[in-house]
C-alpha cells in the first residue's frame, strides 16, 4: 500500500506593514493588496496552506502583523505559517496565539540554533518551521554539499553547509523545512532541483521547496524529481497568470497526488 498524502501547494504572501508585496530577488517590491483578502481568495481557490513572510523592517510595527494574523485566523480554516523577524520565544508565542499554525525561523536560528529546540519544547515540533536561504557555492572542505547558508536576503554568507544545517535543525526539533534557493528566487525559471532533492532525501521531516516557480511544470519537477513534499508559489498566482486549480489539474494529469476537492 502506498502513501496517499497529497503534495501541498502553498501560496506565499510577503507582507510589509500590513500590506502584501512580491519581491523580485528581494528588490523593488510592489504593493498588491490586503493580506486577509488574498488569504481568503487563495483559501477558496484551493490552497493547501498559506505562508506569510513579514518583511516589516521596524520591530515596533510588528503588532500590525499580529493583527493581520488574527484576522486571517478568523477568515480561513486551513493551516498557515508566519515567518520573518521571529527572534524570540515571545515572538513565536505572539503569532501562534494569534492563530497561526506554524512559525518559521530563519536568520535567528542561524545565529542562535537553540531557538529551534526552545520553540519545539514550548509549542511542539510541528509548530516550528526552519526557513533556509541557500546559495550554490561549489563543493569545498567547509561546504561539502556545495550549498551554503546565507542571510540578509542572500547578502551575507554564513560559512555553514546547507545539508549539515538541515540535519542539525531536524535534530534540534524542527518539524518542517522551507528551503529557499536564492539563486532561483524570482527567476521564474524553476526550482533548484538538485538542492531540493539533496535536502529532502536526507532529512526525515517534510520539505517545502521555494524559489523559482513560474510554470506548473516547475512544480511537477520539484515534487517528483526534487522529492519535495510541498511547493511554495508566489508571482505565478499573485498576478493571475495561473489559478491554483490550473496548477492542480496539471499536476493531477502528470501523476502528482494533489487535493482536488475543497
Amino acid at each position: 500500500m502506498g502513501a496517499m498524502l497529497s503534495k501541498r501547494i502553498i501560496p506565499c504572501l510577503d507582507v510589509r506593514e500590513g500590506r502584501t508585496t512580491k519581491g523580485i530577488k528581494f528588490k523593488n517590491n510592489v504593493n498588491i493588496g490586503d493580506p486577509v483578502e488574498m488569504a481568503l481568495m487563495y483559501y477558496e481557490a484551493g490552497a493547501d496552506e498559506i505562508v506569510f513572510y513579514d518583511i516589516t523592517a521596524s520591530h515596533e510595527k510588528r503588532d500590525i502583523m499580529i493583527d493581520v494574523v488574527r484576522k486571517v485566523a478568523e477568515t480561513i480554516f486551513i493551516p498557515f505559517s508566519v515567518g520573518g523577524g521571529i527572534r524570540t520565544l515571545d515572538d513565536m508565542r505572539d503569532v501562534l496565539l494569534a492563530g497561526a499554525e506554524k512559525v518559521s525561523v530563519n536568520s535567528a536560528a542561524v545565529k542562535n540554533p537553540d531557538i529551534i529546540a526552545q520553540g519545539a519544547a514550548a509549542f511542539g515540533n510541528q509548530c516550528i518551521v526552519l526557513g533556509m536561504d541557500v546559495k550554490h557555492v561549489g563543493k569545498s572542505e567547509k561546504i561539502p554539499s556545495g550549498y551554503e547558508i546565507v542571510i540578509n536576503g542572500g547578502r551575507k554568507y554564513m560559512g555553514m553547509d546547507a545539508l549539515a544545517w538541515a540535519l542539525k535543525a531536524q535534530a534540534l526539533g524542527a518539524g518542517e523545512i522551507c528551503l529557499n534557493s536564492i539563486d532561483a528566487d524570482g527567476t521564474k525559471d524553476g526550482y533548484e532541483l538538485t538542492l531540493t532533492e539533496l535536502i529532502s532525501s536526507r532529512v526525515d521531516i517534510p520539505v517545502i521547496a521555494s524559489g523559482g516557480a513560474g510554470h506548473p511544470v516547475h512544480l511537477r519537477d520539484v515534487l517528483k524529481q526534487g522529492k519535495a513534499d510541498a511547493a511554495l508559489i508566489a508571482s505565478m498566482v499573485h498576478y493571475g497568470t495561473y489559478t491554483i486549480s490550473d496548477i492542480k489539474s496539471y499536476l493531477d494529469n502528470e501523476g502528482v497526488n494533489v487535493r482536488s476537492t475543497w
Binding site: M4, L5, A73, I78, Q126
Partner: protein, 209 residues
C-alpha cells in the same frame, strides 16, 4: 453550548473560531461544572501525550472527560485528544484515559518493522479517509474530500469495530475511531477547510442514540 476542554495543550482557539464561523456557540474552559453541564464536549490537543495527561490529571479533567463519555452526550476528540482516549501511548510511554481499549503507536516503529522507507514523519498534510461505516458526523462529504493531518503517532483500538475510518500512509492506520456517543479524529477538522467545517457542523447537531 459546546465546551472545548482547555488543558494547556496547544492552540485551542482555532477550534473555537471554526465553530463561531459556522454559528455554533462554544466556550474554551477547564471549569469542571461548565464541562459537566455542557451539551457537547470537544477534546482537542496538540503536543505530547505525557505532559497532556499530567495537565488533565492536575486539573481534574480526566474524570470530567470520562463522565462526559459515560453521560451519553456527544464527545469529539481531535488529534492528541483522540490518542489520549486510548489506554496508553508509545509517546513518553504515557498512561492515558483508557476510555477505548488499545494503544497509540509510532509511525517510526511500524515503518522500521515493515521496512517502509521514504515516508516523512510527522505525517503532515492533506490525506483522504476511508469510512468503514456510515456515521452521521461524516455525512455530506464528497468522495475525495481530504483532511489536514499532523502527527507522528496513531491510535490503534483493540476492537477493530471501533475504527470508523482509516487513512493510507505506508499502512492503513485508524484516522477516526469511536463508539456510541464518542467520535475522535486524528486529523484536524478545524484546519480542513469546508470538509472539516462540515464535520464540525454535523457534530454540533449529532444526536447519538
Amino acid at each position: 453550548m459546546i465546551a472545548i476542554i482547555d488543558y494547556d495543550a496547544g492552540n485551542l482557539t482555532s477550534v473555537s473560531r471554526a465553530l463561531f464561523h459556522i454559528n455554533v456557540e462554544n466556550v474554551i474552559t477547564n471549569d469542571i461544572k461548565l464541562i459537566d453541564s455542557a451539551q457537547r464536549i470537544i477534546f482537542p490537543g496538540v503536543g505530547a501525550a505525557g505532559s497532556a495527561m499530567q495537565s488533565l490529571i492536575r486539573l481534574g479533567l480526566d474524570d470530567a472527560i470520562r463522565r462526559a463519555v459515560d453521560s451519553g452526550k456527544p464527545v469529539l476528540g481531535i488529534c492528541l485528544g483522540t490518542q489520549i482516549i486510548l489506554q496508553k501511548s508509545r509517546e513518553n510511554q504515557a498512561k492515558c484515559l483508557g476510555i477505548i481499549d488499545g494503544s497509540v503507536r509510532a509511525f517510526s516503529e511500524i515503518f522500521a518493522s515493515k521496512k517502509i522507507k521514504g515516508l516523512k514523519i510527522p505525517h503532515m498534510g492533506w490525506n483522504r479517509i476511508d469510512l468503514k461505516t456510515d456515521h452521521p458526523v461524516f455525512s455530506g462529504l464528497k468522495k475525495n474530500d481530504e483532511f489536514y493531518f499532523v502527527h507522528g503517532y496513531y491510535p490503534l483500538p483493540d476492537n477493530l469495530s471501533q475504527v470508523i475510518a482509516t487513512t493510507d500512509y505506508g499502512i492503513a492506520f485508524p484516522s477516526v475511531i469511536g463508539m456510541n456517543n464518542l467520535v475522535a479524529t486524528q486529523f484536524h477538522p478545524e484546519k480542513s477547510g469546508n470538509s472539516g467545517l462540515t464535520i464540525l457542523k454535523n457534530f454540533s447537531k449529532w444526536a447519538p442514540c
